[in-house]
């Protein structure tokens, strides 16, 4: 059963006097326990797709269903607050806070019941993504890129959501660090039963996922392929 589904998603950007179609009636569905990658060339519309399922923007036509309910009905703000976690290429952590405080900020915003014993929970989640208590109490700018991205993943997970959305999360990381982050996503999908959707332009990284949705630059729709190797 799908947790997240798009129906005839249509989206354009203005392009001179015309409008350029980015997503042309895109209908796909995502399940829990699977690691998805959105693959495509630079400028093909991957980020645009992610921003729609992350409710950071709204489609022109079509619908996004979360547990078969339109996210417009749920409310975009509420959907972001309670149902998804987002990981960005630029980490996007609050610079004057520690890693722990960044995580606790997300926890205090969500309506999901994570408020009790918040600090201990946050430290535990940080630990599970490889950030120990010492590092957790450091200011963000005293952490390496890989560590910052782990804090960002911990923040996305801390609100107890089932869906994890990531836009080129390893884009700024070296190959070795990238590998550990990808492994972390795999574990989250397969062991924690999360639905992980990751945008990448790297064919190699996409091979690590269970399902590849390749954005075709001609049709502006996805070509879905299952990855039997995993």
């Amino acid at each position: 059963m799908s947790i997240l589904e798009t129906k005839d998603l249509f989206f354009t950007y203005p392009d001179g006097d015309e409008r350029k179609i980015i997503l042309n009636e895109v209908s796909v569905s995502f399940e829990k326990g699977k690691f998805y990658t959105i693959l495509g060339a630079s400028g093909s519309g991957k980020t645009t797709f992610l921003s729609l399922i992350a409710a950071l923007d709204q489609p022109e036509r079509g619908e996004i269903l979360f547990h078969e309910k339109s996210i417009r009905e749920i409310g975009y703000e509420k959907y972001r607050r309670n149902h998804i976690g987002i990981v960005f290429q630029q980490y996007n952590l609050i610079p004057y806070m520690t890693g722990l405080e960044n995580v606790m900020t997300a926890m205090s915003i969500t309506d999901n019941s994570v408020q009790t014993n918040m600090k201990a929970q946050a430290l535990e989640i940080l630990e599970s993504v490889g950030i120990n208590a010492t590092k957790a109490n450091r200011k963000i700018n005293h952490l390496s890129g890989g560590e910052q991205q782990r804090v960002a993943i911990a923040r996305a997970l801390s609100t107890n959501v089932d869906v994890l959305l990531a836009d080129e999360p390893t884009g700024n990381l070296d190959a070795k660090t990238s590998k550990t982050i990808i492994d972390l996503f795999k574990t989250l999908a397969h062991e924690k039963n999360k639905c992980v959707i990751m945008v990448t332009h790297s064919e190699k990284i996409a091979q690590e996922s269970d399902v590849i949705l390749k954005l075709n630059s001609d049709t502006q729709t996805f070509e879905v392929s299952q990855n039997e190797m995993v």
Binding site: L56, E77, N92, I94, I109, T110
Partner: protein, 475 residues
Amino acid sequence: MKWFKRSLLSITRRPGKSLLLFLVVCAMVSLLAGSLSIINTANNVKNELKRGFGAIASISTDSTLLPEENYETIFSNYISGVETLRQNEWVDYGEYRLSASGYACGDLGQEFSAVFLGMSLPQSEQFRSGEWELSGQINSRNFTQKELDNGERVAVVNISLASTSSGNEVFSTGITSIGNTIPMKIQIPYREVNEQGFNLYHTFTYEFELKIIGTFVDHKSDASSILIPNHALIDIMQEAREEAQKQGLNTESRRFYPDIDYAGYKMKDPQHLSEFDAEAKAFISTLPNGFHYESSNTNYQKNAGPVENLDLIARIIFIAALVATLLILGMVITYLIGDRKKEIGIYMSLGEKSHSLISQFLMEILIISTLAIGTAGISGYFLGNGISDYMMQIQSYVKREQELGIRAQYTPYNSSETLEKYSRENILAEYQNEINAQYFLILFVVGESSVLLSCLIPMIYMIHLKPKEILLGGE
């Protein structure tokens, strides 16, 4: 990390930005506070000046300007007019003073010159101020209102006319004089033109009697005055005119009427003096030249010029500072918000509610502003005091009597007299403004509301930020 905790965290973890906001608010509110403090001072000075000048009004007379002939209507209009002004709802009490000169006659036929002063109040202003005082003789009393209204032939005489020490035997000094009825004379000088066209000067004398009801001491002058009801004086002059007419004299001359000294009024409340001013001026305009109206307002306006200017300048500075505060603060806050776009985008991507987001940033700004306004309150107070001290030095506020301009005649209802009695120091002391709770209250209300107002546009800008553009851009 609820929004309130985040506010505090941001203030302490970003000390440079907090300090910037603190300094800007402090500078702007200091200007506001300085001008408020001057406005406050100016108001105190104005109130003190008003208190100093009291709430009194007078109509004085310059007899050299009055017409000599056809005086009957002028006189009767005057009497009914000043009586009507007494009925004005804002008047606490009022009176008018007529006078005539003549003689008081002694038992042995001696004559002592005397001035008859017409009264319309049992306690006329001179008695209230202590200038006149009823002497301590047994049965010596002042007029009753009934005696005044009916114009009874009763008199309160200056003790000097009754004193043996002055060699005056008209009234014996003992109690026997009070209750006695004494013959009096009024002398009216008049002019006749003879067949040759020459002016001939004569005196018409009219005799009458007054019952002595009291004696009084005049602490200010040694004029031998005899106080009688105004209406008695009017009646006596009327009788004198009738006598004179029998002798074929022209009684339409001003000389056959009592002299008009002044009318004076004390208001219940200085607030309504202007309304009385308008009514009194309208009345004066119906009279010929020779009548001069002035009130506390007249003197207040002559003296309050510099402080009114100071007040006006302070008000202009205040409004300019307010506009500048809104603009500059609005810009600084917009800059500070723009500087934190990414952070705001993060809160939005985490699904933070708009109202919590606004609360967080407003709280942060309000905490810093409150500290800044407190500091500015103190610095603005010194700024304001410095400016008003400076203004004090270059301008002398309370003009001296001689600078007040021409005044027709002294009356006890003249406010420049009142001010002289009132200490100049009282007024000058008001320039020393004090820090009080009210000043801070006003400052906080004005300061905080201008801070909040200047947050309006930045806050609207903030909630319309697009998290997608902030967070997902950049490849």
